[in-house]
Amino acid sequence: MAEERRPKQCTVVVPTESMKAMAESIGVGQLQEESCVALSDEVSYRIKEIAQDALKFMHHGKRRKLTTSDIDNALKLKNVEPLYGFQSQDFIPFRFASGGGRELHFYEEKEVDLSDIINTPLPRVPLDVSLKAHWLSIDGVQPAIPENPPPAPKEQQKAESTEPLKVVKPGQEEDGIQNKTQGATSAESKGQQLDKGLRLKPRSTHELSVEQQLYYKEITEACVGSCEAKRAEALQSIATDPGLYQMLPRFSTFISEGVRVNVVQNNLALLIYLMRMVKALMDNPTLYLEKYLHELIPAVVTCIVSKQLCLRPDVDNHWALRDFAARLMAQSCKTFSTTTNNIQSRITKTFTKSWLDEKTQWTTRYGCIAGLSELGADVIKTLILPRLTIEGARIRAVMDGPVVSNIDKIGADHVQSLLLKHCASVIAKTRNPPDNVEQYRLDYGYLGPMLCSHVVKARTQAALQAQQVNRTTLTITQPRPTLTVSQSSLGGSGGPRTPSIIKVPSSLTLMSPRPGTPTQPSPPATKYIVMATSSGASSTQQVITLSSSQSGGTSTVQSATSGLQPLVKLESGGGPGLTASRPMQKYIVVSLPSSASLDGKGSGLTAISSSTAQLEAGMKLERSDSPGASTH
């Protein structure tokens, strides 16, 4: 009997206030309360009746979505004039407004100038209906062609991993083949087979076909190989191919083992490649990764917090790897964290624990902070902001105190810029102006004044922009930028790249957001590849070589080689012309430090991140002259 309790069905009635509002809108004021009640009852009933009739039209139209035309047809059925003007296929653009203690939804109709319509060019003619035939099944087996869905949909992968005892009938292809080969034609033997299958726990087969083995070999080799073009292709294949789920366990092991070995050997390049593989796997919409998180997450976390990730910590840019891995971690927290596995809280706990430890090295410290701050504003607010004072003191101890080691100094410097970068935006949102330097110093200690200037900057930008795009999540989920960057750097891998002239639509000035800290007297030139990807237009790729010879104060980084200096300027905040004309433009800046040019990189990143254009610091480190490149 009572199989399910349905929600109360007869109580849904249009509120009487709506009746009043409607009456007023047609000029009937002072509607009696009783009349309102009576009207709303009647109206609710009629609306339900019409909705039920409209459903009929939806079913016969073979749709799952009720459209306005269904309502029209239902009205026609009742001999009522249909409502004209609601032609939208997808949604009715109702807008919500409240005021005077009243809430209402209304249909916004803009006044349209007729001449505007006449003068606008005609839209493209939509494509005509066409027929396309494909094989859904050949002799009972579904061929793996693009027209067909991936062999094992995510739900099935999930079912297989969560309920292994349940006999899945994956289209019966395997069954059919087996039976054909065994020649089991009689119904009895078939029945027995079925019975057997039902009783036994199905063993999960991880045997790969010869083609799959070849594919796996090729892909893994390309991913960690030296040819950047091949790597790009391989990563794209991982990110888009629908039929990879059989190889997923192998990929997962490959990555986790790879990270384990290469962390010990401090092979930064390989770690980066492996992280890019993780990203590609996560980008693939057809894979059910939950089953392999136990292997992937430790690998990623290792790349965030490991004490040492490269052979020369003072020179190599392992910070970028930590940033990238932190972003990966944040992404997987977002996608996979549930109330049962508690990934996010566990990860947060891990990071916090090692961050709070006094003995933690600066590298790990950086990783922990990066990992935490990528998790979102709330985490920053509750976990990082309260510790700013302590952390500031620690940084000052390194900066101002006796020179202990260069590595510590660099580490402290990075932690500082990282903290400034992430905290400023959060503070700008939570803290009310005015931004008083002294007050900041009081609240946040050593970092206070710098934070103050950052916050001020963030505020002015927030005022400039109507909406703040979450840069990290947006760029990280798009596989394309990384791929194009890596392709673009193909030319550079052979030898020293000749810087080309950038054709940026408007001048760009790269702002250094904080006072220059001339720790390195003559830093070598940092190469930047700037990619302008405007929507629709073909992307243009440029290489800028920046000599990060900073002058003091909020200096402009001279973003070109000496010869090209006047041509390239990266402008912070983006000129109004830039934002107005090309709002979709993306700049991807990839730093190519031939030696430790961490300052330039760091400041570049900060400047870019706060600019209006969407910028991403790519992961690719091109080290044509470094030993890392020759190791593989």
């Binding site: 069905q9 007869c10 039209f57 073979k62 035309s69 027209e147 067909n148 869905p149 078939k190």
Partner: protein
């Protein structure tokens, strides 16, 4: 004396329970305290509550009531006749007048209420007893009640739902019955539980009709959760009904009022229920059962819960057993003998392949030469069929040739599926059809167009204009080729004409015509020679949901929102037959392979099979829990499959009129079903983006219909959906709305890509 005592006890019980409603009167006539003899003929509901009692006073009461009704309507002659036959004395006229004014059909509630209470009392036999007296209220003035007490007004009985008790007690009645049914033996419980839903509906409607809005709402909320989940749709409609004014014009309500909800209950269970209701004096419920339910009593074992669930779910309960008794000639017609020029070759091939193609109709053309006609087949000329033209004969020959190359399908040889995706169909693809030879495909769209494609290299051409045609040499051999206008050759043609979404299309068997039906209420016949509209058949005033050509051409069937299926002939602008009986929209229509029968599926969740010759409904098949959108006949005409929005495919044996299979697997509405050419595989296509293949051979083969099942209609369905499911083929994002087996058993599927 003993009886009197019994009655007194009973009435005492009832009064403690129903004291609020019934104001026991001491003035009640003691002579009619005759207890309650067992009711006779429960199968035939009595026109008035009085007729429950076959004893003399009850009969007389009824007769008087009828007399009064006749008198009121000035049918004096009938009154005379009745009076003479019944031997009743004349009655004074004035009494009639005063009463009918006092208790006019529910219009005056107060009067009706009291009158009703009176009539109730008259049956409850409330003799004054000490027990009753303690709780009894002072008697109301006899002038008001007395009349109703003696002769219940017929109007009260005839107008549905004006029966009125205290609304608060409905709750008590219903929970009382619920308690009782939950306490009976398990074997009866399932059967008796069937009573809940119709009772609930009628009680709710009575409350609404009598303007007890608050009580009806409370009643609904309290008990709607108890109803079977497959009634959810109807309950939703009911829930929106909360005022008497809403009842006018509500279709669902109308269905409930006009049709009796049919229940099949075993005699034992029925006796149990009856005894309970009589013991508890539960007249309110008893009246509803008498008036609004049709209880089909059978002898034998009570049915189990699963048996009942399999058959129930339709808007008006199960089908009566005798409605499925008529003989159905489900056999196939004898194929005309055609001199096949390549006959020898064909025969050789077929002889080599052996017997297994018995079921396919075309093979029969050979077999029939020697064989006598199928005893289950209708007479060849039962309905007049169009004569075969030369082109038809050619087509049959082609068909035969193709048939020899047909793949024999089965469990181990599944068909290949070729999927035709309609791309860029933003206007909404609503219907698809293939020609029998799979050379043309047509799509109906929500923007009221119909498009025809050629899927062979042969392009679609129009016949030349009349002026050009006159120039053609009519004696030449290739005149058929010459009349075509080469300039108009294209892969697809658009047919404009409808003024609303096209919901159904069907090619004629000879590929010269195309039918389409639309929301605008018309069915249109298009010529595929000129690609123009030839006829617009007007008759349905509301949207037409489906149409189909007869397998022999000439006739076609259409059905739509007006609940009437119409049979047309292409050369008549008015329908030849109108099949009325469904209680809700007719959602799909299909011809039986022998063209003598038509099956219609409806939103009332029943399938009806109609005899084209007589226009009678020969089968009512219940069991679906949602509107039926797909029906398919097996090629041998013996079986039928139907699919509904509930995602289940049901298999039916037409000859016995019983359900023989329930295929579960789809997760969304099924829009198309098709048997393979030799009937061994059933393919189903659904909104859940899958094509599924089922082992129809096994489903029908394992079937043993014993006489018992055939006569009682009690079915035991094996739970073997998973075994019968041979394959599931998922499309990317394309709901499957049409399936078609080519003559060589390649499965074609179609749908609009809908990312």
């Amino acid at each position: 004396q003993f009886i009197l005592k019994m009655a007194a006890v009973q009435s005492g019980q009832s009064e403690t329970e129903e004291e609020k409603e019934i104001q026991p009167e001491t003035s009640n006539d003691g002579s009619r305290t005759d207890g309650r003899p067992p009711a006779g003929s429960p199968g035939v509901p009595a026109p008035s509550p009085g007729a429950v009692k076959p004893s003399a006073p009850g009969e007389e009461e009824t007769l008087r009531a009828v007399l009064r009704f006749l008198q009121k309507n000035n049918l004096s002659e009938s009154v005379e006749i009745l009076r003479r036959e019944a031997g009743l004395p004349d009655e004074p006229e004035d009494q009639t007048g005063s009463e009918s004014s006092g208790t006019g059909s529910g219009g005056q509630e107060a009067g009706g209420g009291v009158g009703d209470a009176g009539s109730l009392l008259s049956r409850v036999s409330a003799a004054p007893t000490p027990a009753a007296a303690t709780v009894a209220a002072p008697p109301p003035p006899p002038s008001k009640v007395g009349a109703g007490d003696d002769r219940p007004d017929v109007n009260v009985v005839l107008s549905a739902y004006s029966q009125q008790g205290d609304p608060v007690l409905y709750d008590v009645y219903y929970s009382g019955l619920k308690k009782f049914i939950e306490s009976v033996l398990d074997c009866h419980r399932a059967e008796l539980s069937q009573v809940f839903y119709p009772l609930f509906v009628h009680m709710y409607l009575e409350l609404v009709y009598n303007n007890h809005e608050a009580e009806s709402k409370a009643f609904f909320e309290k008990f709607s959760g108890d109803q079977e989940c497959y009634y959810a749709d109807d309950l939703r409609i009911l829930s929106s009904l909360s005022k008497k004014e809403h009842m006018r014009g509500n279709e669902t309500l109308l269905d409930f009022r006009t049709s009796k909800f049919v229940l099949r209950i075993s005699r034992d269970s029925y006796q149990l229920l009856k005894r309970h209701l009589q013991e508890r004096q539960n007249n309110q419920i008893w009246t509803i059962i008498q008036e609004h339910l049709y209880i089909d009593i059978f002898d034998g074992m009570p049915r189990s819960k699963s048996q009942i669930d399999a058959m129930s779910g339709s808007l008006a309960g199960e089908a009566k057993r005798d409605s499925n008794k008529a003989k159905v000639f489900y056999g196939l017609l004898k194929e005309p003998e055609i001199e096949v020029p390549l006959d020898d070759e064909d025969e050789e091939v077929e002889n080599e392949e052996g017997k297994p193609k018995k079921k396919k109709p075309k093979k029969d053309s050979l077999g029939n030469k020697s064989k006598k006609q199928d005893p289950n087949a209708p007479q060849q000329n039962r309905i007049p069929l169009p004569e075969l033209k030369d082109s038809d004969k050619l087509d049959k020959i082609m068909n035969l040739k193709e048939a020899t190359k047909r793949v024999r399908l089965g469990r181990d040889t599944l068909p290949s599926i070729c999927f035709y995706s309609f791309l860029n169909a933003y206007q909404g693809l609503t219907a698809v059809d293939f020609t029998d030879d799979s050379s043309l495909i047509a799509g109906g769209y929500a923007d009221s167009t119909v498009r025809v494609w050629s899927v062979t290299p042969k392009k679609l051409r129009r016949v030349k204009s009349a002026a050009d045609l006159s120039l053609i040499d009519k004696e030449s051999d290739d005149v058929l080729e010459r009349i075509m206008d080469e300039k108009t050759a294209s892969e697809s043609k658009i047919l404009h004409g409808h003024s609303g979404p096209v919901y159904g299309i069907s090619f004629s068997p000879d590929r010269n015509y195309l039918l389409s039906c639309s929301e605008d209420g018309t069915v249109r016949l298009w010529s595929l020679q000129t690609f123009t509209c030839l006829v617009g058949y007007k008759g349905h005033n509301y949207p037409v949901w489906d149409t189909q050509f007869s397998p022999y051409g000439y006739y076609f069937i259409s059905g739509g929102h007006d609940r009437v299926a119409r049979l047309w002939a292409t050369d008549h602008y008015q329908p030849l037959r109108m099949f009325a009986g469904h209680l809700a929209d007719i959602t799909c229509t299909r011809f039986h392979p022998n063209s003598n029968y038509v099956a219609t599926g409806s939103s009332d969740r029943t399938i009806r099979l109609w005899d084209v010759l007589t226009g009678n409904c020969v089968r009512i098949l219940t069991g679906h829990k949602g509107p039926i959108h797909a029906i398919a006949f097996s090629p041998n005409g013996k079986f039928m499959a139907s699919g509904a929005t509930d995602g289940r495919v049901l298999l039916w044996d037409i000859g016995h009129g019983i359900m023989i299979g329930d295929l579960k697997g789809h997760t969304d509405a099924i829009y198309t079903l098709k048997f393979s050419r030799d009937g061994e595989i059933l393919a189903s296509g659904s909104m859940d983006n899958t094509v599924r293949l089922w082992d129809a051979f096994k489903a029908f083969d394992e079937l043993e219909t014993d006489d018992f099942t055939a006569t009682t209609g009690h079915i035991h369905l094996p739970e073997n959906s998973q075994e019968l499911l041979l394959g599931t083929y998922l499309t990317k994002a394309t709901p499957v709305i049409h399936l078609h087996f080519t003559r060589r058993n390649l499965l074609l599927a179609a749908g609009a890509y809908n990312p």
